[in-house]
């Protein structure tokens, strides 16, 4: 396999692994966080609005980590 084909193989493999493995952590984190938000809403329905607002902030920050992996995959495929 020559250098250009090996580089192409490396790029595509790296992109796939980056997005695939990079979505494991945020997926687990989102599940834990939303579960805890549901538990606290079930315990005390009066604070549902506040809990929901803070849960959305948490979802935004956690999903950003999965999107860093996506950006790394994009960089691997399209740039270098």
């Amino acid at each position: 396999m020559d250098a250009a084909a090996a580089k192409e193989l490396g790029k595509l493999l790296g992109a796939g692994l980056s997005m695939g493995l990079g979505a494991v952590g945020p997926g687990i984190g989102l599940g834990i966080m939303i579960g805890k938000a549901l538990e606290s809403i079930a315990r005390q329905p009066e604070v549902a609005g506040d809990v929901r607002t803070n849960m959305f902030i948490g979802i935004g920050v956690t999903e950003a980590v999965a999107l860093y992996a996506f950006v790394v995959a994009l960089i691997l495929i399209f740039v270098a």
């Binding site: 959305f56 920050v61 999107l67 860093y68």
Partner: protein, 284 residues
Amino acid sequence: MKHPWRWIIGLLVIGFLIALAIIPGGKKVEFEVAGEFNREVLLKLPTIGPFDMSVTKTVVYLWISVAVIFVFAMIVARSLKVHPGRFQYAMETLYELARDGVVGSVMKSGKKQWFPYIGGVFVFVLTCNLIGLIPLPFGEGHQPAYYAATANLNVTLMLALFTFVFTHYAGIRKNGALRYVKAWAPSGAPPVLKQVIWGIHVVSEFFRLISLSVRLFANMVAGHAILAVFFAMALIFQSYLVGLALQGASVLIYMFELFVAFIQAFIFAILSAVYIGGALDQDH
């Protein structure tokens, strides 16, 4: 047998689906997801210093967002009534969401002062995201195509830079430069650990800038790429059956992208409010 009509209709439907699966999938058409994010120059203007002032698709979409916000605001502000009609009620709901939900629930001091910026950034990002879900004739050969102005790292980086500059400006103006920077190290910490924590805080301040811009950018790009793939599933698989079966899934993904557009605008605004509020009252 009872109800022969049901059997006949059932067999006809199954036969139709099998025929769809068997028929060769039409002309071979190349489809490329990344073609949506091409930024070719529409109107070449001169370069002023290091900035190329040419007009591209992103610039036109930004102008469209500004025009839409301006027109909506003028329509509602010209005829304000005490008993609001439907349009005024919708605009008031948006205003109250920005004022109470975003600024009021997160910032403790400086609410009135920073509400114009945070409300403005919320409405602007929301409008840009939503216009990205309307097909406008900017495709090749003036075909309808989807594109969001915020699906461009330059645009989101500028918005995040506004928040970054305003955060430090607010903190320095309130506390003085030296006290503001000193407060990044917690007061009750041992001497060497204090400097390390201060260094980590400096890095995290810069990381906030990157994360704010990349979050919005990557959400919009990923959303549009998924939309493009789902809408063109029939072309990718070269089969009519797949295209028919995925019409419903395309609608569901579109609805999810609508939800993501709202959520990302809300998150950008509320994180800006958290950062500015955190810089204003540093020891909470």
